[in-house]
Amino acid sequence: MSAQNDTLDQEVVRGFRQRFANFREHRPHLFLLALMIVIPWFFMDLATWFTLTVSGLAMGLMLFIMASGMTLTFGLMSVLNLGHGAFISLGAFSGATVIVFWMNDLAGSGSLGATLLALLAAFVFAMAVSGSLGLLFERFVVRPVYGDHLKQILVTVGGAIIIMELIHVIWGPSEIPVPRPDLLRGAVILDSTVPLIGGAAVETYRLAAVLLGLLVYGVMTWIIDRTKAGILIRAGVESTEMVEIMGYRIKLLFLGVFIAGSALAGLGGAMWSMYQEIITAHMGETLMISVIVVIILGGLGSIKGCFYGAILVGLINLYIGFLAPVFAAVATVGLMVGILMWRPQGLIPVIKV
């Protein structure tokens, strides 16, 4: 009887382990995310953990917005755009121009409508500027070197230098402080009666960033899953020749995706400018590192992988930044190295590189 029980137990255990292994292998992004969220519980109290998690989500979602364009251009056209960081800087400067110089009164008024209007104007302007520069960039810098990775790397690095120098010429070489709109300053403090996480404080701006980031992710998933353009993009990632054979103008699709990617980089940059509250022309270069880690983590070319990768990077940055600030950057790269050892193609690979 007891022997039977033992085998039953073993079977239950084996079944559980099997399911766990399945989960780990088939949903590595969720597995890692759960791991990332649970482990810090042992090192900090829950209120701090909650604050850090929301902040990490905010940072991750902003990173996602910046990185999604780069991963899409790679997935669809196999173009490695190392000049992406320059578009982030450009978006930050354009957005800051609207907030600081053109609509300062609206942003500082404190009324909901005016703040929203100013923010919307800043984001739209940032996207328009970097999107239209993306058009020129695709046309004159990237198009001649389709299909040649080495030249793409060289040319886009050169293009990034030029854009960065242009930013210096237009906005001057010094840093520009970017104050947040009045409504988004300060923090939301949870009531101390809330169990476990009572008293945790979350900055308003980060909450807003999380909401906006989720919105962008939602819209993007909807476009890619449900619309004609999305089908074409997914088909293009699988095989560009086939899409061309079906009679679609693949060049137009490339151009559209490149512009959208640049515009998203600009949007991310504008959001980041208010998050950091100070901008320099070199901010894009620094952010590029996180962006690159994100797209490698996610699996080059995958939007969903990019989303989870960005959140992982955001979370580990905040957790390690709290526990041992010196090692924040190293931990980010360490995460990438570890995941590459485990899964050389990234979390959710879509293309064979």
Binding site: H149, L150, K151, I153, H168, I289, I292, I296, V333
Partner: protein
């Protein structure tokens, strides 16, 4: 004789040979041809960066491995020697230990990088090295107790390499080319006066000794890498560049060859970093590890000509001259367009990088083989024309 020294890889273009000869003479007689301190520093940097760019070319040009961690290895060398000297005092023993530490650290890191990211496909290597190099720079910035953080470290070189030491008691004579040329153009009628003015005294102190260490190191390393690239090993690298699949089918373990290339380049750069620390006598993240420096190395390599060792010489010389003197030219030009809003901003002396970026993109499109490659193409065309006409 010459054939053996150059490993049978000649410049193959008259203009190129002439350029290389001029550069060689200027570097060999450097302290005796240019009297200013600024020129002296520039010449030393050219010697060091020829090695850095040539070792980068071994990866980029000969094997098509794009690495963004080259400055990391350069910084490892520079910081290793700065830190051992800081800990043990300014003796040659400390320098030796620094060199040993630099070589070991560079080898270990390069092996790690190679094994990690050459496992996955080639394009990952660029991205992974970029991220790792950035993490390394952040570490150096953060661990300021041992690296000095953003302030960096001052390197107290041994007395024999400093300005107080005299190798030869008497001064030697130098002949200032710049003064001579300036005089030749402004007052060619009294040539004797010009020549007399151009002669100046050179104190053969420890700085000059250090310069010549750099020069001979640079020459030796350059010839070594030239030999290496024209050996069977180098041929395999070029085969991998042209068609990796085929090279593997012929029985070469391409992963080993690539890793060996990365390690070789890393060690050579680390040695160059050691010399940089000793020559510059000051090390900080900005002058050894910055991403901008990495881009500069890339620019030097591509503008000079990828896949040709001579391209490193031409590229490094041209770029460092531009970095130091193009600003002066732009300042003069800026005087003419003063007041025109956007243009004057673009021509200002701080904007030299803009012009170099533009030159870089254009050269990738129109002269993908760089200056050396283009000169060779022209020379070949000329030779063919002459053969056709008899």
């Amino acid at each position: 004789m010459l054939n053996a020294i150059l490993s049978g890889d000649h410049p193959r273009s008259r203009i190129l040979s002439a350029l290389l000869l001029v550069i060689f003479i200027c570097l060999a007689l450097g302290p005796f041809l240019f009297s200013s301190t600024r020129a002296f520093t520039t010449l030393g940097m050219i010697c060091i960066f020829i090695v850095v760019v040539a070792s980068y070319d071994v990866m980029l040009g000969y094997t098509h491995i794009v690495s963004f961690a080259h400055t990391m290895f350069f910084g490892i060398g520079a910081y290793a020697v700065a830190m051992t000297i800081g800990a043990m005092g300014n003796s040659f023993g400390a320098i030796g230990l620094g060199i040993l530490a630099a070589v070991l650290a560079a080898t270990a890191l390069a092996l790690l990088l190679g094994l990690l990211s050459l496992r996955v496909k080639a394009i990952f290597f660029a991205l992974v090295t970029l991220a790792v190099a950035f993490a390394f720079m952040t570490m150096v910035n953060q661990l300021y107790t041992i690296t000095g953080g953003e302030d960096g470290l001052r390197v107290r070189v041994p007395r024999e390499l400093g300005p107080a030491f005299r190798l030869i008691e008497n001064d030697l004579y130098g002949f200032s080319i710049t003064t001579f040329l300036a005089g030749l153009f402004t007052q060619p009628w009294n040539l004797g006066e010009v020549i007399r003015e151009s002669v100046y005294n050179v104190r053969v102190n420890g700085r000059v000794v250090m310069y010549y260490i750099c020069f001979f190191f640079s020459l030796g390393m350059f010839l070594f890498m030239l030999r290496m690239m024209n050996s069977p090993f180098g041929r395999v690298l070029q085969a991998i560049r042209e068609n990796e699949f085929r090279a593997e089918a012929l029985g070469y373990r391409t992963v080993y060859y690539r890793t060996a290339t990365v390690v070789l380049a890393a060690v050579v750069t680390a040695l160059a970093g050691v010399l940089f620390a000793l020559f510059n006598r000051y090390v900080n993240p900005e002058n050894t590890l910055d991403f901008e420096l990495m881009v500069f190395i890339l620019l030097m390599c591509v503008i000079g000509g990828m896949g040709t060792m001579y391209g490193a010489v031409i590229g490094a010389t041209l770029f460092l001259l531009a970095e130091n003197y193009l600003q002066d030219v732009l300042r003069v030009l800026g005087g003419y367009v003063d007041g025109v809003p956007l243009v004057s901003g673009l021509v200002g002396p701080e904007r030299w990088l803009f012009w170099f970026g533009l030159l870089f993109v254009l050269s990738v499109y129109f002269f993908p083989k760089g200056m050396v490659g283009q000169l060779r193409v022209w020379a070949d065309a000329r030779r063919r024309r002459r053969e056709e006409s008899g």
